[in-house]
Symmetry: C2
Subunit: 207 residues, 2 copies
Amino acid sequence: RVPDVVIRRLPLYLRVLDEIDTDLSPIISSQELGERSGVTSGQIRKDLSFFGVFGKQGVGYSTVTLRAELRRILSLHQEIYVGLVGVGNLGQAFIRYGVSQSKKALPNEGLRMVAAFDRDERKIGQQVAGVPIYSVQHLPGIIEKLRISIIILTVPATAAQAMFDRCVESGVKAFLNFAPVKLAIPEGIRVHHADVTLELESLAYYS
Amino acid sequence: RVPDVVIRRLPLYLRVLDEIDTDLSPIISSQELGERSGVTSGQIRKDLSFFGVFGKQGVGYSTVTLRAELRRILSLHQEIYVGLVGVGNLGQAFIRYGVSQSKKALPNEGLRMVAAFDRDERKIGQQVAGVPIYSVQHLPGIIEKLRISIIILTVPATAAQAMFDRCVESGVKAFLNFAPVKLAIPEGIRVHHADVTLELESLAYYS
Ligand SMILES: NC(=O)c1ccc[n+]([C@@H]2O[C@H](COP(=O)([O-])OP(=O)(O)OC[C@H]3O[C@@H](n4cnc5c(N)ncnc54)[C@H](O)[C@@H]3O)[C@@H](O)[C@H]2O)c1
Ligand SMILES: NC(=O)c1ccc[n+]([C@@H]2O[C@H](COP(=O)([O-])OP(=O)(O)OC[C@H]3O[C@@H](n4cnc5c(N)ncnc54)[C@H](O)[C@@H]3O)[C@@H](O)[C@H]2O)c1
């Protein structure tokens, strides 16, 4: 089974390949891919070998093929529906950002923000960047109907475990959690915990 | 020189050590530290050796000493002043979160959010969680007076390079950038780019 730390690097490689004009650059060496993604060329080759992807010795990788491979590995060659729970300051910013980023993607593929959930009566029934806000009461039904497979949790700490549990019961397997709590996570569910504090603490080294 | 990817792991180790009762657990093995931070024990030992920190063979590290060492390496044993530019949805959420997290730290050490900057007249002179919002016109003076050494950029893409440049001119060396632009970065300045999209793309693998 592929370590999570490897999976987390794949989008970095994909980002570099998305920015390349593949007509101008049909080949990329692991050195150049490494410099542009901030990873050693040895690490890249090791990561990609997990998926049976090997470059041409002494030459590198086909940019077109590698990009397609990475998108397929990450399931981004098809549409992936994302929902968000907790439409506060953080939630609203992420909905807008997510929608603006999706506009750059091709139709019928990649991440799509399709629903948001809250319990605040004044927000339910509204929209943010065209994404409808539903009541958390209707979360299970909406998740199933819209085939949401990733949930972003931007609720207060006190609400996080309960909202996480409800989404797990509704079949969601992948979460990006911003609430400052250590969630109790069942087997088979992947949670990435985002924390600006960790980023700032590593930046303190350079300050 | 220590690779940035190593520096970024240090706050993960520090977080594990912050959560340990050092009276109950005076020693931690690299295996346990690895399991709890999601990193292999080999990687931990390699990372720490960069700083001349070595565990006791077959035993592990003193939790009290290692925690103090990591805080010192990251300069968190003293106060580090953080500023934020762009007090929109994202900015406001991070100010509140940053202030709530700082409350848990000991006085006179760790990260402190001390100022925010915006150009919106309705926001200038207001406060968010007790953090004053200044005009970007006064940014250089405030940065110097409050000895701000890390800046969080949460402005729109169009404003990011100009705001970054102004902070660099004012002496800031470390940035956490959320704006979706690739900044032109001078030598000696460290920028960590945060992107929810990269997190979501790696989660797509598990969805
Ligand atoms: N990890 C980080 O780096 C980081 C940074 C900033 C904020 N945060 C955290 O993100 C969360 C959101 O922050 P914010 O500033 O946007 O908060 P906020 O108070 O502005 O928004 C919270 C939203 O959640 C809704 N909500 C509350 N309980 C709910 C429930 N049971 N079900 C559904 N919705 C519910 C509220 O109605 C509100 O809309 C907080 O937990 C905060 O600590 C984390
Ligand atoms: N990287 C990510 O994962 C991610 C996620 C969400 C948002 N974003 C980005 O973060 C940024 C902020 O998002 P938001 O939703 O909070 O936006 P917002 O529009 O709510 O807030 C922007 C703020 O910046 C201020 N501003 C504009 N120009 C300025 C200038 N020249 N100097 C100082 N302040 C200025 C505005 O007055 C406003 O207060 C955007 O660039 C957005 O694309 C990134």
